[in-house]
Amino acid sequence: MIGLVAVTPTFPSRETLDRLRFRPLDLTIGIGVLLLIYAAVRVGAGARAPVRHAATISLAPANLPYYAARSLLRMFIALVFAYAFSLGYAYLAARSRRWRRVLIPALDILQSVPVLGFLAVTVTFFVALFPGSEIGLECAAIFAVFTSQAWNITFSFYHSLISQPGEFDEASKLMGLSRWKRFWTVDVPGGAIGLVWNGMMSFGGSWFFLTASELITVGDRRYTLPGVGSYVGVAEREGRLDAVVWGILTMIVIILVVNFFFWRPLVAYVEKFRVEQSQAGPRATSLVLDALRRSSWPAVLGRGRRTLAEPVNALMARATGIEDQSLAGSASRRRAADVAFTVAVSVALGYGLYSMLAYIATGSSGLAVFGTAFADGFLTFLRVVIVVTVSSLIWVPVGVWIGFNPRVAQFMQPIVQVLASFPANFIFPFAIVIFLDLGISLNFGSIVLMALGTQWYVLFNVIAGASAVPSDLKEAMDNLGVRGRHRWRRLVLPAIFPAYVTGAITAAGGAWNATIVAEIVSYNHQQLVARGLGSFIALNTGHLPELFAGLLVMAIYVTGLNALLWRRMYMLAETKFALA
């Protein structure tokens, strides 16, 4: 078990915060990304067509295994795409000085854009791409899952590439490894642990998006895909709590099974890529992996891989060539190319920004829509603040208690991990029933809904942080008789601070994303709406200019908070409170 892991379903990853400065260029690139999305939306909007084969969902529990399989398939397809995307994107960003300056800020923005917000847009786009079949809908759902998984994995890999030891680079060059060979023998193994861990965490987090994307409303149209998410969604709409319970049980089983048969073996496998100079203590183990290793499959596969690898490697080596910078490069020419590149990018961005604003201005309320969006955003911002604060107040003490008791921690940690990856929207119906009974407005109730999904990140990270506190520190405090308030101030809070910050960042990011489903809910044929940016986006899925303004505002809020608050907290955690 690795001590601290960002369980980030989306939104800022720790690596984002590692990079200190947020330059104007980053902002420009961010805007550029929004423009790309905007372009896609325009295309999609022009090709809108009805889907004739919208599935109907049967609430009979017997159908659940089938639905679960459909959902899982989507998840894994998305994961494959996410890995492919991540490897390519991160490689390009790490190896090309020029592209790095575009790609990395773009990634920052991409993970700040609420995935669910533009689900409506992508659905229309993909449906138009595959008219008359469910494939378009499937693609849209997979794409939503993909977007929730990819960014973290990409950042992780990018980070491992740029922090690769300089000697590895020098040794590779002197040995004359081709780009292809180097990628697979040096780069990917070096980043393997991060790739797997971040993949696992993103996978867990993306259940939320999958289930939300199986039942999509765009304007007045409803699209449904067979899956666990849509099953629970329909049950919710129908007010069938028994079916909701069945859905929840299915979900738990899926999570456990995937964890046991897929992630756990992978995590155990990648231990061998750990760059450490000596044998470390306990490491991840997996029954499944042990079983696989004992079988003859590895040998068979290995032989197959080798016979295949030789020609492929030779071919790819020729294709990719050897990475070798010329010693005779002209600095002035390089600088000229840089300038040209920057100018080109800037011009494109300038034009795009202009046309996007012009498009938003064509909406029903023109550019004034930004005013509404910002005001709504502020309400949502307040909710996020409350969610983070309250869950911190509750879960920090609990987490510390669990973390300081190794036996409890051993038992609780997997549970909390499952809870963290469990899609919170499955529990929404119960909460809504209570709200309706007590007459609580969703304006406040949505805070609880948001918290349902995100509080676990705080707890999970605090447990991890607390169990990582060296026992000699605790013993020293015991020895000095430091207890009570002083112990909290002098030992506990500083020691768990880095872990807590990670948890809080994740929780806040998750909370922003959850607003889109938490500020507007349907239960038993009623629709409850809370005022906020999430409901603004959800209600405007049919009005593209407004939708776009909403997305833009949310991205501004999220990146602004990252830059102003979380980055600082993160740096503080890294510099002052790091236990290392």
Binding site: A171, A328, T575
Partner: protein
């Protein structure tokens, strides 16, 4: 195995023609801040032929790894080129292979896979690949580990894999980047041996090896050729072949010699001249701090002292410590920079200071380190001064990194600041808040107490003595002023004094500390470093600039000049002398002089001095008399000088402003009160300051806290009453405090009054001894700028004036004396004129005695004045009964056995509160003592008696004229008089003597005058007498013992003790107690020499307890005053506590931390 080996021999032949590697005028710089290039390598030229094993040796930062990577084609040179087999490199040099310090093995590949990686890249088929890899693994001795993962291997084995991976591709050149430095000593030695075996046995499939290392022995052991790279930027300092035959052995003379030679090369400093020029500058940019931690450098110093007796060869040191050059040299550099050690070739020797630093306790070593780093580490000094000079308590660290970035790169700037923070924190000079990035002022500890040169706000004053011509005596006067200041306790040094071999002037140097000249020139840097309170610098015109620098550093300067050097009058002077005058003193400099004093000499006197050979050597006298010493010319110059002084802004002789040094007396036992109060009052008078007596009674809980209440109690009454009585009697003020905590009460009183001297009795031995002992230490520690005077424990200190006269002494009158150097000077007239003046101002003036009443002018004056008695004899009783404000007593030397000596009477009058105006004629001074009484008025007594002396000066020529006209002596005695008393030579000599007396007196009283601002504050007679050597007739002589600790930094203590001795005219000793065992002889020898120069005696005592040894010695030699430095008293040693307990009949002084 034969394959690679044979290929090597085959290929070796043609390679002789073209070198394998040739580096041509290669320079490399990396981009610094703002795009400025930071050079790493500069103009490297190098050729490596086949078969050579080359070692690149250099300190960190010499760019040796960069050079290796340029050869590997991994880094593009900024200028120049690298050729391999004659071809210019344009990309990665694939004919090389590199062995890395960190091994750089892929942890996820097995040993074999790692080794095969390079072959695979070269397209070697799988079968052949495995075969070659296994062979290489076999060569390096890892047979059997093919399928192991690197993490299963030890460091040494991993590096073997690194070798195998490099060798398997059979590179033309094997490049090694510190291949053994990540391994432990044993492993690396073993691996080196195996490498050597393979190389010597030609079993290596490579033609040449280039190895980067910072291990000198490694280079000597392995390489055929050693290149030493210098730092900043890297240049090849030396390219030497290694002639030692293989196999090489360590610990052979040749081997050691080569190692030592390389050490010398690597530690070579810039030439001495350069350093001298660079030292005063000592800026942040030209003196970077070595990357050494305080722990490291003090550890090295300690080991050097403990294990090597203070000096060791660098090679031995590195060897015994297992340190490599990169680790050792920064520490060595730091010790040398801080003057803790010196490098003689490759031998590191601790200096005296360094020895003490190495042996000191934590607190002392901190203090020593603080001083050393302030003095020698410019960055530490800059930070410290910036903080002292800033309004804020903290400055952002970025402020300093910005400064550093201009001279160093980004990283180096950060490193420099790190070192400075580390040093400054350890030295308690400042603190650093990493979270906020602020460097903060240290409010307590060493940083708050170390006195640094004050900024320009308190610029030193400049006093200049102006002479009209050569031989006017300006230098003499300057030196005399210096001595006088020294006697007042100032820290005076001679920076430059041109005595021109004149005997009087040379004599005047006596006892003053001289800063040695540098090549006959003023050594400004040395004077600045010495940082005295006052510097005497002869010849203002020549030293305008250095004097300004000294003044800027807060040093007061006394200088001399000549009218010819004053620009304003240069034209006039030139007209008089017929020679161009230098006129180097501009109006600006002239205006900057705080006190310009004219040293007058009549032309006659000058000529006489010249004739006597006091000015020029005999052979030049004749011509000089005829030219520049023509009377007319001298007179003209004198006139120019007088005019100049008159017109100069500052009045000549303006008293120097001294801050008053108030005295606080603490009394807690009634029987000590009088002695203590007298002591304090004397001290205060000597400094023209006020004295306050603190009556301290230890209040028990529950008792009332009012002074009145205290007075009503038995013990309290005795104390408070006696204090009040004693204080009123001597004009001191009283402060009554009650406290259970005497320490706090005293400290707060000192701070309230801003007192600079604290007089108190040593706590009595007994139960409270420990407590009181800590009280003294507390006072010493918390009042660093206060001079502590601790009276002897026995309470019968000889320092106390016998008779306890203080009780009777009420308001004392002043004694003013008009001094004439010969009869007829007009002293009586002057006295009577003053009497009239005072009377006209409303004072009650009487004339007690007046001579020469038959003279007209005298009679005229007398008409307006009240005469008591007949004037011929002084009726003291009548005057006392009359109690006037002012009494005139002519001729204080007069008196017979029957009548009271007039000066004794004058003292009585003064003691009764009457101001006495008297006259003294030099001729009558110091006559034969009256047999009936052993008391007579001589020069010394006069100086002691008179509060003011005014010279009634008449040029001898006028006096002679008066004599000739019969105005002074009866006509029949004129001829005789002109031969004897009024002979011109006699007159001139007497006049000079009178001048000297007046000057001497004036200087002695300078401090007393300060702050008076002309007001006639009365000074009691005897105040000075006591200060100048105790009561007349007593054979008691003060004896000063400076207790110097056997560690550095005692110079100030010795100097100040000497000044104290000079002040009280006592003898002077310095004692130091050598710690049992090791001692630093050079340090003590330095102290001894210094003591001797200051006219004292130096003794070295031994004993387990310093206090006991000192006390014993003090008792033996009847020492009256023991002087301790502040650091000794406030330190962790119980010296002060013990001394206060042990010493009897003496006073213990604790000097303030540094002279203000």
């Amino acid at each position: 195995m034969t394959g690679p080996a044979s290929s090597r021999t085959v290929l070796a032949e043609p390679a002789r023609a073209t070198p394998l590697i040739s580096v041509r005028s290669l320079s490399k710089s990396f981009a610094g801040p703002g795009g400025r290039p930071l050079p790493v390598l500069d103009d490297i030229n190098l050729e490596v032929t086949e078969g050579e094993f080359v070692a690149l040796l250099g300190r960190s930062g010499s760019g040796k790894s960069t050079l290796l990577r340029c050869i590997a084609g991994l880094i593009a040179p900024t200028e120049g080129e690298v050729r391999f087999r004659g071809r210019r490199l344009t990309g990665t040099n694939r004919e090389t292979a590199m062995v890395f310090q960190t091994f750089a093995l892929m942890p996820w590949l097995t040993v074999q896979q790692n080794v095969e990686l390079g072959l695979e890249a070269r397209g070697v088929a799988a079968g052949q690949r495995a075969e070659r890899a296994l062979r290489a693994i076999d060569i390096v001795g890892l047979d059997g580990y093919e399928s192991a993962y690197p993490k299963e291997l030890s460091g040494g084995m991993r590096q073997r894999v690194g070798f195998a991976r490099a060798l398997v591709v059979e590179p033309a050149a094997l490049l090694m980047d510190e291949p053994f430095s990540a391994l432990d000593v044993l492993t690396s030695e073993n691996l080196r041996g195996e490498l050597l075996e393979l190389w010597e046995g030609h079993r290596f499939p490579t033609k040449t090896i280039v190895m980067v290392t910072h291990n000198i022995e490694e280079a000597v052991l392995l390489a055929d050729r050693i290149l030493v790279l210098g730092t900043n930027p890297g240049r090849i300092m030396s390219d030497m072949p290694n002639p030692l035959p293989r196999p090489r052995r360590r610990r052979t003379p040749d081997f050691d010699e080569l190692v030592d030679q390389i050490y010398r090369m690597m530690t070579r400093r810039p030439a001495p001249d350069e350093r001298r020029a660079a030292k005063p500058a000592g800026t942040v940019s030209d003196t970077p701090l070595p990357q050494a931690t305080v722990d490291g450098l003090s550890g090295l110093a300690e080991i050097l002292l403990a294990r090597h007796g203070g000096a060791a060869d660098l090679a031995d040191l590195a060897d015994s410590l297992g340190l490599e050059v990169d680790d050792l040299l920064p520490l060595v550099d730091a010790l040398v920079l801080l003057s803790f050690a010196a490098l003689r070739d490759d031998r590191l020797e601790l200096t005296g200071n360094g020895r003490v630093f190495a042996g000191a306790s934590i607190q002392d070593s901190k203090e020593i380190f603080a001083r050393a780093s302030l003095e020698n580490a410019p960055l530490v000094r800059t930070i410290y001064r910036s903080l002292r000079g800033s309004m804020d308590d903290a400055l952002p660290a970025g402020f300093f990194t910005d400064i550093l970035r201009t001279s160093f790169g980004e990283e180096e700037a950060a490193r420099q600041l790190d070192v400075a923070v580390n040093w400054g924190r350890y030295a308690e000079l400042y603190d650093y808040d990493a979270a906020r990035g602020l460097i903060m002022r240290e409010e307590q500890g060493i940083g708050a107490t170390i006195a640094e040169a004050p900024g320009p706000a308190s610029k030193g004053s400049l006093t200049a003595y102006l002479g009209a011509a050569q031989g006017s005596g300006t230098t003499y006067t300057m030196l005399k002023e210096g001595r006088a200041l020294r006697d007042q306790g100032e820290d005076v040094v001679i920076g430059f004094a041109d005595t021109r071999g004149r005997p009087h002037t040379v004599e005047a140097l006596g006892g003053l500390e001289t800063v040695p000249l540098a090549d006959g020139q003023l050594d400004l840097a040395a004077v600045l470093a010495r940082k005295p309170a006052v510097a005497l610098i002869d010849d203002l015109g020549r030293h305008c600039v250095p004097i300004e620098a000294l003044r800027s550093a807060g040093i007061h300067v006394v200088s001399t000049t000549d009218v010819a050097d004053v620009g304003r009058v240069a034209k006039d002077v030139a007209a008089v002398t017929g020679r161009p005058a230098p006129g180097r003193i501009t109006d600006e400099v002239l205006a900057g002089i705080d006190a310009l004093q004219f040293v007058d000499s009549s032309p006659e006197a000058l000529r006489k001095r010249l004739v006597h050979g006091n000015i020029y050597p005999p052979d030049q006298v004749g011509p000089a008399l005829a030219t520049e010493f023509q009377p007319a010319r001298l007179a003209a110059l004198r006139e120019i000088g007088l005019r100049l002084v008159a017109s100069s802004v500052s009045a000549p002789g303006a008293p120097r402003q001294h801050s008053p040094q108030d005295v606080l007396v603490v009394a807690w036992r009634p029987d000590q009160v009088e002695a203590l109060v007298q002591r304090g009052v004397r001290l205060a008078r000597r400094r023209g300051a006020r004295c306050c007596v603190l009556a301290l009674s230890q209040q028990r809980p529950g008792q009332q806290l009012l002074g009145q209440r205290l007075l009503g109690q038995a013990g309290g009454e005795a104390l408070a009453g006696r204090v009040e009585a004693a204080a009123t009697a001597s004009g001191a003020s009283v402060l009554i405090r009650e406290s259970r905590d005497p320490g706090t009460a005293i400290i707060s009183a000192v701070q309230e009054l801003n007192a600079r001297h604290l007089v108190l009795a040593a706590p009595p031995a007994g139960l409270m001894e420990r407590l009181r002992g800590t009280l003294l230490e507390r006072l010493a520690g918390q009042l660093p700028r206060v001079h502590l005077h601790i009276e002897a424990a026995a309470g019968s200190a000889p320092a106390a004036e016998p008779g306890g006269g203080g009780a009777q002494a009420r308001h004392r009158g002043a004694i003013r004396v008009y001094l004439g150097y010969a009869p007829g000077c007009g002293t009586t007239t002057a006295m009577l004129e003053e009497a009239s003046r005072r009377r006209s101002r409303g004072s009650d003036v009487v004339v007690g005695a007046v001579d020469a009443r038959d003279r007209e002018d005298v009679t005229a004056e007398l008409e307006h004045l009240e005469l008591i008695g007949d004037g011929a004899t002084l009726d003291t009783a009548a005057v006392l009964a009359r109690r006037p404000e002012v009494a005139c007593v002519d001729d204080l030397t007069a008196g017979t056995a029957s009548a009271e000596r007039r000066f004794v009477a004058a003292r009585r009058l003064a003691e009764a509160g009457i101001t006495v105006v008297g006259t003294v004629q030099l001729g009558k001074l110091g006559g034969a003592p009256d047999r009936a009484s052993a008391v007579f008025l001589d020069e010394t007594a006069l100086l002691a008696l008179a509060d003011e002396i005014e010279l009634v000066d008449v040029p001898p020529s006028i006096l002679i004229d008066r004599v000739k006209r019969g105005l002074i002596v009866p006509p029949e005695q004129v001829a005789l008089g002109l031969e004897g008393t009024f002979a011109p030579d006699t007159l001139r000599a007497e006049r000079e003597r009178a001048f000297r007396i007046v000057a001497e007196h004036g200087e002695r009283r300078l401090a007393a005058y300060a702050g008076e601002a002309g007001a006639a504050e009365t000074l009691p007679p005897g105040a000075l007498g006591a200060a100048a050597g105790g009561p007349a007739g007593s054979d008691w002589q003060p004896s000063i013992l400076a207790c110097a600790a056997p560690w550095p930094g005692m110079e100030s203590l010795i100097r100040r003790s000497a000044a104290l001795a000079a002040q009280v005219d006592g003898n002077f000793r310095v004692a130091t107690v050598r710690p049992a065992g090791a001692g630093d002889d050079s340090l003590l020898a330095g102290y001894a020499a210094m003591t001797a120069q200051l006219g004292g005696e130096f003794v070295t005592l031994t004993g387990p307890s310093p206090a006991l040894a000192l006390a014993h010695y003090a008792a033996q030699r009847q020492v009256t005053e023991l002087v301790l430095g502040r650091a000794q008293a406030a330190g962790r040693y119980p010296v002060l506590r013990e001394l206060a307990r042990l010493v009897r009949h003496a006073e213990v002084h604790v000097l303030p931390a540094e002279p203000g």
